[in-house]
């Protein structure tokens, strides 16, 4: 019946592979090229949400292949803000997590528990606190950073530093247990121990950093408050999605969502490839 429908509507290139109408990629290319959507006439199989997802996919595909200028702008801003925050947070969190693994001091357990607890910091609260600190009447108001990408970076650093520090501490603690006797017997300094652990545990630390990246790239609450979602200034993918959802343009919102997911996957793959985590014979 479906085959007949497609023939009658002039779309014989559509391929039906099963009763559940699995379609091949030509179908997707076809309707996006022509900017048309063809639905299977069995409405019971095509729920409203599925239609929205398909429209979202179409929108995402269309935005990407047309090199939509605004999409590129907000995507690059998303990456710039998140990667900057990630670099700063990693520079703080990795040495901190490693230090907590090798050094015994009085309130160590408390500090570790605090960092673990801060992993669940509500972004909206972070956004609010940063907003108050950076607002004109706040202690850092003179810096005039509110509603700038810098403010967004500050908020993201606060959110992801505990995430990276906690995961880094966990893996560094295991490595320290393995290396402890050797590094002590070699009479290493504290600095040498920390550097050795960071170098030899770099694959695990990369995972910690990627967890921070995942948290930051998908963050919306804090950066919406401190960034303000200003077009061409502080708008990023997540705030754009929130905006389009508010406007009721679910297809575009979903499209941006798919771009965001694609971007996150691409960055993860790029980092793994560059660091050669899976290369034979390497650590």
């Amino acid at each position: 019946m479906l085959q007949t429908f497609f023939e009658q509507t002039g779309h014989p290139e559509l391929v039906i592979l099963s009763a559940q109408w699995t379609l091949d990629i030509d179908w997707l290319l076809y309707f996006t090229r022509k900017d048309r959507i063809v639905f299977v006439p069995q409405q019971s199989k095509c729920t409203a949400s599925m239609i929205e997802i398909l429209e979202g996919l179409k929108a995402a595909f269309w935005l990407v292949i047309t090199f939509d200028a605004e999409l590129w702008e907000i995507s690059l801003r998303s990456l710039r803000v998140t990667l900057t925050a990630l670099l700063i947070a990693s520079a703080i969190a990795i040495p901190l997590g490693t230090y907590l693994a090798v050094q015994r001091f009085r309130f160590r357990r408390f500090v570790i528990s605090l960092i673990n607890a801060l992993m669940g910091l509500p972004p909206v609260v972070v956004g609010l606190v940063v907003y108050i600190l950076l607002s004109r009447t706040g202690p850092f108001g003179v810096l005039d950073l509110l509603f700038t990408p810098t403010a967004m970076i500050i908020a993201q650093v606060i959110i992801i530093t505990p995430v990276i520090a906690s995961i880094a501490h966990q893996s560094m603690r295991e490595l320290w247990a393995e290396y402890h006797d050797l590094l002590i017997s070699l009479n290493t300094s504290k600095r040498q121990r920390i550097l050795t652990l960071i170098w030899d545990g770099r694959r695990n630390l990369l995972t910690a950093a990627l967890a921070g990246f995942g948290r930051a790239i998908g963050e919306v609450g804090a950066i919406m408050i401190v960034g303000g979602n200003i077009d061409h200034v502080t708008r990023v993918l997540t705030t754009a999605i929130a905006l389009e959802t508010g406007k009721g343009d679910f297809a575009l919102a979903l499209g941006l969502g798919f771009v965001l997911i694609g971007l996150a996957i691409l960055v993860n793959l790029a980092i793994h490839t560059l660091s050669q985590t899976e290369r034979e014979g390497r650590w």
Binding site: E178, D181, L182, L186, N187, T188, G281, W283
Partner: protein
């Protein structure tokens, strides 16, 4: 080179979680060696070695070197600890810690790679080595800084005869080169082959100490005699 020995342990006691692990016990090690420490499981051989090396704190008593230079000690553990690096990098690590110039590092590492027969595996991850290869790597890494004293905690445990022979050859070379060995073992054959001085530990205390040949031939008491016969001694 300043003479580090004699090493004097005076009324050394180590307590862990309220339980006495060793001591109170006395021991004096003179410059001549090797010294082999024997004794049943749990007699405190490993703890004694760790105390002498300085990686185990004593609860009471004193450990005194004539001249202590921690950079002149090295320790080989029963389960070899290898860094998550290549074989080459494992050997280079102790030299890099003391800022040895690169050409000297390369020269020393190449020499030891050849000596322990791992030259072909220089770029392989050390964790891929077999137990015997790892132990040879650990000994070479300990010797690469030419320490005056090398402590070894049952370095040949769980190794086959071939690997044991290779390691003993390495240790004899180290002794000939002037490194003072202090080693624990369960292998009486190995103790007879390597020991110049014998220390018998029992119940956390140094029970007997003396010239190895003499003690093997004429055990000073019934506990040592029973242990050397292979009887269970507690």
């Amino acid at each position: 080179m300043t003479q580090m020995f004699p090493l004097t342990l005076d009324q050394v006691l180590v307590r862990r979680r309220g339980k006495v692990v060793i001591g109170p016990t006395d021991l004096v090690l003179q410059p001549d060696g090797p010294t082999i420490i024997i004794g049943p499981n749990g007699s405190g051989k490993t703890t004694l070695l760790r105390v002498m090396h300085g990686i185990e704190r004593v609860t009471s008593g004193t450990v005194t070197w004539q001249h202590n230079d921690p950079s002149q000690h090295a320790f080989v553990f029963q389960s070899p600890i290898v860094l998550r690096r290549s074989v080459y990098e494992n050997l280079a690590y102790p030299l890099r810690l003391i800022q040895t110039p690169k050409p000297e590092v390369a020269q020393a590492v190449d020499h030891w790679l050849e000596r322990i027969g791992l030259a072909d595996m220089r770029h392989s991850p050390a964790l891929r080595l077999s137990g015997g290869e790892r132990q040879k790597l650990a000994i070479a890494r300990a010797l690469i800084r030419k320490p005056q004293v090398l402590f070894l905690d049952e370095p040949c445990a769980n190794l086959d005869g071939h690997a044991t022979r290779e390691i003993e050859a390495l240790l004899q070379e180290a002794t000939a080169a002037g490194t003072r060995l202090v080693m624990s073992t369960h292998d009486m054959g190995q103790a007879r082959r390597l020991a110049q001085e014998l220390v018998f530990m029992l119940g956390g205390k140094v029970h007997d100490v003396g010239d190895a040949e003499t003690l093997f031939a004429h055990p000073a008491n019934k506990e040592l005699s029973a242990f050397l016969r292979g009887d269970i001694v507690t």
